[in-house]
Symmetry: C2
Subunit: 400 residues, 2 copies
């Protein structure tokens, strides 16, 4: 008996289940493992031996799971301590692996989860356990090193850009329009906010401003440019990442009470309202709306990117093939060959290259004033989101 | 030369343009009017003679306009005063109608806009102007009298229910889950919040609570029931209308600064945060997320209800036929014949039956404790939203 175990960790995405199903279906085809076990609630559930055999699912259930958002196996935010600190936990895990004939463990997650892959695979090697530990990438934040883009990001980008386009049209219907602010996720990296560059109307980008955590926020310059834009167009559309920071590193949202999650990250929220307060304080207008996309950007499967869905499944398959080839401590990744026609290759990298690291939005794609994204970034985003809605309105404010 | 004029008023919807296009295409077929003129920014633009001939649009542009959310002709929140107060405005309007050979004016809007239809048609009759004034209904709020449901509502309901279902799945992934609150639009009537009853999982409704403006909010009973539900399930999902009120009529959101729009309506926001504060004050949990769907619920055409889109076009056609038959002071409406198979008839009612009136959510569809919607309301909602996504997850918290 030679089984494998797959589990999900961290925040949900629209396509995290597609990776688990991709792995399961690839194994069904090549029969490398006798059973694909699914661990519930990530490493937390694995430690409780809370898992089940995926072959218990009907074909219809498997297909429904593939096309369901959010972590269908449950998730956790449990950070495995170093094996020198909590050796018992490692011993317990490998005892569980042994008793359930688990030859390979796959962890689907972001840079924290790939740290778990790194630690477990190192521990296995050091202690002579013949168990392969490999990772499958996942995060809407798109902030993993090495990989061209992360599964989950394309769907989030499509949802954000679609919502920006639709709320842009909504914000322009009166003769006397105000300022509209959309806040996206993105604590450290601005990829999600930047994906708003996909929202285009009449050949131009909807957002007048796209604010990223990577660009220190110059409040005076921002207020001056908002004022100028509002005076010219009687309307301003602003996209802001939740993680926008002042030059001293303080989050704009820092006036809000901050708590910390179990990974020690500050829990943010409120950058949009902070920007609203700045605009009001500068006397520009009081007609300001703030929209926080909140969790919808990571779970809105109804607007899934087909490319993202397909790639997520293929990354599950790639991880299975890595394990079958005897690899351990690796993460399945994709590398872009070309933008148009869009082409990626599926390969792998050491988990150490991804664990705990952050891939920031490239400085060369930010406009010189720091307030927007250059046109040349579009070719990166376009294939990831796939087909966007096309709209047409007549009233003259759209000819700006 | 015999022309007609169509304009849009009030808040945008996903399908308001489909009504204008439905009217235009019906006229293209029957040739009743020489030109269909489109007024920009509602009655405000009409008073500026800001309109254009819709036949200037290519077939492709017409089809794009039909499938574009938000008021594609621009909108306004201009309330026409009584003709005894501002006779000049009425004289100016009918002079414009006369100079542009406008035989019929169509106003697409909610209960405020239908008040304009009522006033203008009465003024025309009293002053011997041979101009027909008719209305086409529109509002995501679904709060118009007589009509079975309003164009725009079905798409909003589908978007809300889809977002509730997806954020419900998102809110359940951990072993230690918190409380999730979604705030919908709905100042006076709870139809939008109630449409969350369409979000179902494993044969049951996702929302543990659906709070409507029509049901006086019993804070103590609410806190007790939230506590009980959270202790039982370690998770509570709450949908709240922005207009939820205390028994004395105060909005829960009233602690927030209130402004008023030009119709004298209080501009609300913050019921979700008010509920969060109540839950915290009762020491139930601090793990609470609030999601305000904001303008997305009225402009998310990417999740349009096909039924809603089709009916909106047919109501435009119905209004054209009313005018062609010499009617004035009417509003095109639809009457439901049956739920299953779903069947509606297109007819009309006097604008006076709709103007300034509000259709509240029926008390008999509210559960006895006032905290949810009865199952029997489902058959009303199901055909309006159309096909909802179907999802499947495995982790045990979904078997609750």
């Amino acid at each position: 008996m030679k089984n494998c175990l797959v589990a999900q960790s961290g925040g949900p995405t629209s396509v995290i289940n597609a990776s688990a199903v991709g792995l399961y279906l690839a194994n069904k085809e090549n029969g490398h493992f006798d059973k694909v076990l699914a661990g519930l609630n990530g490493i937390e559930g694995v430690l409780r031996e809370d898992f089940f055999d995926m072959s218990e699912l009907t074909d219809e259930e498997v297909e429904l799971l593939r096309t369901t958002p959010s972590a269908g196996l449950g998730s956790c935010r449990y950070k495995l301590k170093d094996s020198t600190v909590n050796k018992e936990e490692y011993e317990k895990l490998f005892d569980i692996f042994s008793r359930h004939s688990i030859d390979s463990f796959f962890y689907i997650g972001g840079n924290d989860s790939q740290d778990t892959v790194k630690k477990l695979s190192a521990y296995a090697k050091e202690n002579g356990f013949d168990v392969r530990i490999n990772g499958i990438p996942k995060t809407v934040d798109n902030d993993l090193m090495v990989i061209d883009h992360t599964p989950g990001f394309g769907s989030a980008a499509k949802y954000i850009a679609t919502s920006v386009l639709e709320s842009y049209l909504d914000s322009l219907v009166y003769t006397n329009n105000g300022i509209f602010i959309v806040e996206t996720m993105g604590r450290d990296a601005g990829w999600l906010a930047a994906s708003a560059c996909l929202a285009r109307y009449n050949g131009r980008q909807c957002a007048d401003f796209i604010l990223l955590p990577e660009v220190p926020f110059d409040e005076a310059a921002f207020a001056a440019k908002v004022k100028e834009t509002f005076e010219k167009k009687n309307h301003v559309y602003i996209v802001a990442s939740e993680g926008v920071k002042y030059p001293n590193g303080d989050f704009l949202a820092a006036t809000k009470a901050q708590s910390h999650d179990s990974f020690g990250h500050a829990q943010l929220g409120g950058a949009g309202n902070a920007i609203k307060a700045i605009i009001e304080a500068n006397g520009i207008t009081k007609r300001i709306k703030v929209l926080e996309l909140s969790v919808l950007q990571r779970c809105a499967f109804h607007a899934v990117s087909e490319v993202d869905l397909e790639e997520s499944g293929k990354l599950g398959k790639t991880a299975l093939e890595l394990a079958a080839a005897g690899e351990t401590g690796k993460v399945a990744i994709l590398v872009r060959e070309s933008d148009e026609p869009y082409k990626v290759n599926f390969t792998s990298t050491d988990a150490a290259n991804i664990a705990n690291k952050v891939k920031y939005f490239p400085a060369e794609w930010v406009t010189p004033d720091g307030f927007n994204i250059k046109e040349e970034a579009l070719s990166y985003f376009v294939p990831l989101a796939g087909k966007m809605p096309e709209y047409r309105v007549i009233h003259k404010y759209h000819n700006m």
